[in-house]
Symmetry: C2
Subunit: 133 residues, 2 copies
DNA sequence: AGCAAACATGACGTTAACGTCATGTTTGGA
DNA sequence: TCCAAACATGACGTTAACGTCATGTTTGCT
């Protein structure tokens, strides 16, 4: 009745495969599931939460390496002033990069709208001349 | 004195390698440079412009395949109503996807800011207790 | 004509983020 | 206790977007 699930349940709920979980473990994105001796691994709800967070961050275009740098601060507080300052710097850097991306995407959006408008005008003209009921 | 440049000049100006140009040609992102018989290829300013545009679109996270679908409309007008309508649909789809991405990034941005604020508060408290000039 | 620099082409290598397969071990239920 | 389902581990495969070599051909200059 505690949060002991095996890899199958975990991956089913997270929508990933066991391969992915093991891969993430090796990269340091997930703490390796506990186990007694050399048997199977058992995971908790936190592992699930981490997997979901990783999914979100991936969606944003972060690489697994990028994610490894920030994932911990979602689940553990680094202790001591030095680590916190380091994390803070990292966060600010990510914020700057994010703003860059948003800006680029907004410019791209304008571009697209301009093109769309152009095509719509063109098609509108034709339909006046030609297809007028 | 016309716009005839060979691949070396082109790639130097565009900041890519010949390999990249040939790769793009094969994918249909760039029209193959003209040539007489079986000699070398010659490119124009438009090729350069296309390369630059491709670079921008890549920055936005579009794959080369995505780019292949839209790159032409930056440089050539598709003729006929059908093609234009098709392109228009494509553009609208890209617009929707772009909006999704922007939204996700903005949510991520808020997340980051929240975390940053949290760390800043923590660090501020310590410096009051401890480091007060 | 001769030659070095630039180009063409093909083949194999690389990184990220897993997929797939083979083989052996654990578990939980009848 | 026995067995099928689930798990563990290692190895090889895959896609995207090129990099890097090796080898042979073209060009531009002297």
């Amino acid at each position: 009745m505690n949060g002991r699930m095996r890899i199958g349940d975990l991956t089913e709920r997270a929508g990933v495969t066991p391969r992915t979980v093991r891969y993430y473990e090796r990269l340091g994105l997930l703490p390796p599931g506990e186990r007694e001796g050399h048997g199977q691994h058992y995971y908790t709800e936190e592992t699930l939460a981490r997997l979901e967070k990783i999914g979100q961050l991936k969606q944003l275009g972060l690489s697994l390496e990028d994610i490894r740098d920030v994932i911990d601060l979602y689940f553990t507080d680094p202790s001591g002033i030095k680590p916190k300052q380091k994390v803070l710097a990292l966060l600010r850097q990510h914020l700057a990069e994010t703003d860059q991306k948003i800006g680029a995407l907004q410019r791209f959006r304008s571009d697209l709208q301009a093109h769309i408008a152009r095509f719509e005008r063109w098609l509108a003209e034709r339909s006046e001349d030609t297809g007028e009921r």
